[in-house]
């Protein structure tokens, strides 16, 4: 049904094994099964808290979703998981593109990598075989350059997941890249690859996936494609991509600007300006949305997050400059969210006189494109002040103690998206409790702003919720609901753009997932069972975080979100009330079945232990 290959880079040995059905029923695949392997392997390496993220004992897991690579709609996703060098906590990044389908078609649903290669190495996957090949000639290459070189070596149809110079140099916010911009960006998984001397995993996917009921899968595909294509959300994302979201957030006054000192920015980053640089729209494996856009400056993107974080957040207004920075971070293999957040942090510290020219190597000014362009190169190559910023959040150890007050991060993960969450309280709770840190893709309840009728919200979320996005009432249950369904989407490998609740009260929900899983694997899940699988993933991530030493104290927000009111536009005056946030957090723990310290119950611990063993 689903396999994994245990790869030891130190000994250059591997073994292919089957994943027990019990584990698949509990955690599905993708993010879920990755967490199961991560929990086991961190324990086996002496305990999660003791594992050095850059040590050979840190496992690095590439896991395709249960449906990934099939013709199920938008089933392109895979997760890369390890202990994070960026946060020293749970590390996990989700990615689209074509790699995961190629990995599965080469014979592997999941790759569990341990050890460390003695010299630069890449793995070549073909026909169920793993080849350990020298990567000396690839070392130093950019991310797309590496992928092109691998196509030259192994021929057309070779799809790779690689690191750029940032990963090689153990930059703590280094990403794993595939294609020109598909990025497993969060938590520094590229740096873990670099620490293992692993430049790339290349796959030649010539095999065919085992499908239990191909006829039913084809029928589901036809019906669901029709259903999705009738969605306006899908149509708009396919036509405009994510850049149109910038203007929406900017109108509200929720665009993180100059490290969240401001909350609105220039119109030069609106979609209509970005469109001048768009060549064509592209899609991932089996996608019906086609939201990716190739730009005429040699790359892909920028997506909304990058527009915000390498544009408004750094005070850079010219559209072409933001696109150049987007292409640069992708080629260097850097997470644009962390890079934009960390540089903005440094700019504010300089603005406040908390770091000086001696440390920074010269003036740091908002909007100084040339300086920031050079700084990004210096980060990737760990040169000068870039070497300090390459530490991401951990750079706080080299700054004055109060510097952390200006860092827009949770659990040491710089916030992923450019949306300032002080206005919509459910968004704030979401990034506070997200297992990997400040991230919108774990539980973002976008529907909260739509003021849907009470009965509609109740029907979706199953709990009473306030229709006011600035209210704290009922938002805990709403976030918990999103936790579960996004965990399931991540575990089956389906994109959130077609997932029920992310942008639409319709689209693919548990019933659709269940039908697709049955067609692909023969396993039948009731809706309740699938939601429980989502809950298993969330609880296991909580367990891993607790074992890593995380606690209730880490389920919080950047100081600025509590203390500084938003300065302008619709959101003017809004901030997070500490007391109301504390109540909302307690309600969230209750909704998840955790105690008021955010711990799992003894009974739940026993259930999880039985699944982990």
């Amino acid at each position: 049904m689903t396999n994994f290959v245990d790869v030891d880079l130190s000994s250059k040995r591997y073994a292919l094994r089957e994943t027990p059905e019990k584990s698949v029923r509990a955690f599905l695949g993708g993010r879920g099964l990755n967490m199961l392997f991560l929990a086991r392997l961190l324990r086996g390496a002496g305990g999660a808290a003791k594992v050095d993220p850059f040590g050979p004992e840190n496992p690095l897991i590439f896991g395709a979703g249960l449906l990934t690579g099939t013709i199920a709609p938008n089933a392109a996703r895979f997760n890369v998981s390890a202990k994070s060098p960026e946060t020293l906590g749970l590390g996990d990044a989700n990615c689209g593109g074509f790699f995961a389908a190629a990995m599965r078609r080469s014979g592997f649903d999941r790759i569990v990598i341990r050890g460390c290669a003695q010299e630069p190495t890449y793995l070549y996957l073909e026909d169920g075989q793993v080849h350990f090949l020298p990567a000396n000639d690839l070392w130093g290459m950019g991310s797309f350059e590496t992928q092109q070189a691998l196509v030259k070596i192994h021929g057309p149809g070779t799809i790779s997941a690689v690191i750029g110079p940032a990963g090689e140099n153990l930059v703590r916010m280094a990403a794993v890249m595939t294609g020109k911009k598909n990025t497993a960006g969060r938590c520094g998984m590229g740096a873990v690859m670099g620490s293992k001397n692993l430049k790339a995993i290349a796959a030649k996917g010539r095999g065919k996936l085992q499908i239990t009921d191909p006829k039913k899968l084809r029928q589901d595909r036809i019906e669901l494609t029709e259903y999705l294509k009738n969605s306006k959300v899908v149509q708009v994302l396919g036509k405009l991509g994510t850049p149109f979201l910038y203007q929406v957030s900017n109108t509200l006054g929720t665009i993180r600007t100059r490290n969240s000192q401001d909350n609105f920015f220039e119109d030069t980053l609106n979609a209509e300006e970005v469109e001048r640089y768009v060549d064509k729209m592209l899609a991932c494996t089996s996608c019906v949305v086609h939201c990716r856009h190739r730009n005429i400056l040699g790359g892909e993107g920028p997506e909304y997050s990058t527009i915000g974080l390498l544009g408004a957040n750094l005070g850079i207004a010219p559209t072409d400059q933001v696109i150049q920075l987007n292409n640069l971070v992708n080629e260097l293999g850097l997470d644009s969210s962390s890079t934009g957040t960390i540089i903005a942090w440094a700019l504010e510290l300089y603005q406040r006189g908390m770091i000086d020219d001696e440390l920074s190597g010269g003036p740091l000014e908002w909007g100084d494109f040339d300086r920031i362009h050079q700084l990004i190169l210096d980060i990737a190559h760990r040169r000068g002040f870039g070497d300090i910023l390459a530490e991401s959040s951990q750079a706080k150890a080299q700054f004055p103690e109060s510097a952390e007050d200006y860092l827009i991060a949770v659990k040491d993960l710089p916030q992923s998206d450019p949306h300032d969450v002080r206005y919509i309280k459910s968004f704030a709770l979401g990034i506070a409790v997200a297992s990997r840190g400040a991230d919108h893709l774990r539980n973002r309840p976008t529907l909260d702003i739509l003021r849907l009728p009470d009965d509609v919200r109740y029907k979706i979320f199953g709990v009473e919720t306030s229709s006011d996005p600035t209210s704290y009432d009922g938002k805990a249950g709403m976030v918990a609901w999103h936790d579960d369904i996004y965990a399931v989407a991540d575990s089956v490998g389906i994109c959130k753009f077609v997932t029920h609740g992310f942008n639409s009260p319709h689209l693919l929900g548990y019933d659709h997932f269940s039908s697709l899983i049955e067609a692909v694997t023969g396993l039948r899940f009731e809706e309740k069972e699938l939601r429980e699988a989502g809950g298993n993933v969330i609880d296991l991530e909580r367990l891993i975080n607790l074992e890593l030493g995380r606690s209730k104290l880490d389920d919080t927000l950047p100081k600025r979100y509590f203390d500084d009111p938003m300065p302008a536009r619709v959101t003017k005056g809004h901030k997070i009330d500490r007391d109301k946030f504390a109540v909302m957090l307690g309600e969230y723990y209750q909704a998840r079945g955790w105690d008021q310290e955010g711990r799992l119950s003894p009974e739940r611990m026993e259930e999880l232990e039985a699944l982990i063993r």
Binding site: N230, S231, K232, V233, V236, L237, K239, L240, T242, F244, L245, Q247, V248, T251, L252, N270, A271, C291, E303, Y304, S305, S416, D417, H419, H440, L441, R444, T446, L447, I449, L450, R451, L452, D468, P469, T470, F497, F502, N503, S504, P505, H506, R569, V570, K572
Partner: protein, 85 residues
């Protein structure tokens, strides 16, 4: 009364203008305004009819309901709120 309606992404594309002036009856509501917009701009009407999520509407920096009454000189903003990476 004259009302200037500002249209955010992607709604303005259905009209080709980022703001339009409507002439509404005194005490008209947001719902009346939407109805008038839809009457004047069939492409926008088609978009809103087909969209599974409603527009979000702000007036004087407040999130408002469709029952909210308008007054001369008001300038509501319509956005279409979606998330993404």
């Amino acid at each position: 009364m004259k009302i200037v309606v500002k249209l955010g992404e992607p709604l303005w594309r259905e009209i080709g203008e980022k703001q339009v002036t409507l002439d509404l009856q005194l005490d008209a509501t947001i719902e009346d305004m939407i109805s008038e917009l839809a009457d004047q701009y069939p492409a926008l009407q088609e978009f809103l009819n087909q969209a599974e999520i409603p527009p979000t509407i702000f007036l004087a920096d407040e999130l408002v309901n469709w029952e909210t009454k308008l007054k001369q000189g008001d300038s509501p903003t319509l956005i279409w709120a979606v998330s993404g990476g």
